[in-house]
Symmetry: none
Subunit: 200 residues, 4 copies
Amino acid sequence: MSPRPDVSEQRKDQILAAATKVFTKHGFSNARMDDIVAESGLSKGALYWYFDSKDAIIVSILDQIFDYETAHVHEILEIEDSAQAKLEVFVDTTIRDIEKIKPLMPILFDFWSLSVRKKTINQAIKRYYQNFLDLIEPIIEQGIEQGEFRAVEVKGTAVALGAIYEGTILFYLYFSDTIDIEKQFKSNLDLVLEGLLQNP
Amino acid sequence: MSPRPDVSEQRKDQILAAATKVFTKHGFSNARMDDIVAESGLSKGALYWYFDSKDAIIVSILDQIFDYETAHVHEILEIEDSAQAKLEVFVDTTIRDIEKIKPLMPILFDFWSLSVRKKTINQAIKRYYQNFLDLIEPIIEQGIEQGEFRAVEVKGTAVALGAIYEGTILFYLYFSDTIDIEKQFKSNLDLVLEGLLQNP
Amino acid sequence: MSPRPDVSEQRKDQILAAATKVFTKHGFSNARMDDIVAESGLSKGALYWYFDSKDAIIVSILDQIFDYETAHVHEILEIEDSAQAKLEVFVDTTIRDIEKIKPLMPILFDFWSLSVRKKTINQAIKRYYQNFLDLIEPIIEQGIEQGEFRAVEVKGTAVALGAIYEGTILFYLYFSDTIDIEKQFKSNLDLVLEGLLQNP
Amino acid sequence: MSPRPDVSEQRKDQILAAATKVFTKHGFSNARMDDIVAESGLSKGALYWYFDSKDAIIVSILDQIFDYETAHVHEILEIEDSAQAKLEVFVDTTIRDIEKIKPLMPILFDFWSLSVRKKTINQAIKRYYQNFLDLIEPIIEQGIEQGEFRAVEVKGTAVALGAIYEGTILFYLYFSDTIDIEKQFKSNLDLVLEGLLQNP
DNA sequence: GATGAATGAGGATTCATTCAT
DNA sequence: TATGAATGAATCCTCATTCAT
């Protein structure tokens, strides 16, 4: 009488995957629980067994996405190299994962929208961006300390980098036909590095 | 004898103002027509007299916002000056209007979200950003031709500027307590100009 | 200063004509006053000036139609001839006017439907059919008295004739492509006359 | 363990019965879904679980009625007897079921009305009447072939019989106080048979 | 007489959630 | 655990009617 294996994690992932698909297609508000039920292949009762509500699913997706993104961003922390090299690695990994990031943007839009009204969502997003800044700032500081970069204002520069990162993905969504995202990110980096680096 | 004065434009503005308020507070999907009715001080029938549907109101708001933003952006076209001076004016007018732009962001989030599914919305947004690029590119070209700027790739640089603009406003929404938006925009401009300007 | 000519009858007819068209197309319930306004070329206020309500328009149309039909039926009363000849004239005038009657059937359907619930409508229809019977019965009586027809039961035969009349138009509505209405009415008459006439 | 018994057919019937009642009372357009909900004893959600819309309910009722009527008409096909006998059986079964048919007439009115605008409804009715004609025609042919009937035009006679059938029920609705429906149908039959039968 | 903007009760439909099995 | 039928509050939109001008 071996106990049944715990399938709950598996089920939850199944539901979140289905929900992500459905939310991407319809947006949070227009997505129906029945859509998620259909997409997941489970029953309505099962959905409510694993998640208390539609909101609970949404929040779980938020966690999932930001966990992934944060992990992604943290990769560069591992690198032992010049500040410039770190930024280059950051751009490279972003380019590498852009096709995974892109389909999540519709959901991100909804999160941005929700964050206006839901404090939890707002805080989660803020935490995520803070995380991003917390990572970038030391790199800039390192660059300045080691004489690579000019003595720029650190916080403002970090925000500028975050802004250009999010903004570029946004523009790419509307101009994916005319923007070569790889070139674009490299071009962004050139522009910024040119502004950051000490004149030789 | 005297024909009733035509109040239809007034009424439409009244409705759009109310709708903007309500949409900002609740988001498109969660906003109820009854909310707009209450906020506008008109009746439900009046709303539907001037607008065919909730969607029609949303689209009208989109037009209104983008008309405003486009006009705003075009101000710099008038200036006869160096490319650098034009960019500086752009930053100045943005700073000047930031408090008007900020409360519209929640609505912009919903538009971004909607644009994934509604082609008309998508096209309107794309047109707006294209407009932005069409304005910025000649400035960069002017800067290069007149020897102010390095020979950067024009299109990519324009996108970078658009990205940093939208992205900064986004970050400002989440960090309005720690970001001094005026300084931030100026800092952005410094960074970019430093990257663009010929080394003397 | 001659007084303005009274256009109210003209206006009423204009409205009833428009209403008939609209009711034919949409049915009573689905027809909107705005449709009638548009079709009539008048204003909404004008409509309500001449008719108190949608119902009032409907009732007026009922009167109009039945007046017409009754007049139509009464034509045969004028004829001085054998009973058989009178029935033949009745068939002929029906055939002659069938294209005018046919487009009124959709409205008649609605009147039948309404008559279930509205006593006034019910009575109007009943009166109309009674009228029909009052006309046909003397003809049958005449036929019997003068030895043309067998000694059938008068009332029942009149109802049978009314039934076959209404029923034929009904079938014609669904089979106008395969029924030659002229032949059909003549065939009906033959059948009935064959049943009524004394065997020679 | 035991699976819940499938009550969906039962529920559908429950809803259709309630809807028939409500439609009879108010007509299609004026009947409210809430009326059907109340009459059925179910909830609004349940109604929409089993039927997509008010229209779907209407169509289902159409099917139900015509299935019943068609079955009813087909009874005579079984009989092995003279053409005259078959027509007599038809009249007898009609008389037998008249009290079941009568309350459905208000609904039939609405179907006739709807059929003007809705092709599906039109086709269903047409199919039903065609069915009727397809049944009657062979009987008339049989009568002619076997020398019972005169050599009448078959199709036209079938239409005449259908017409007198529908028309009689119609008149009966308005004159149920003065028409003895049993006598009336027998009288109709006599009249027609007298017209059809060979003179001895 | 005539206009047409404005009213607001009414009604079809949706969908997150529940719960008996 | 899992099912899916059932619930009913919520919400968009319609349209007959009114009335200030």
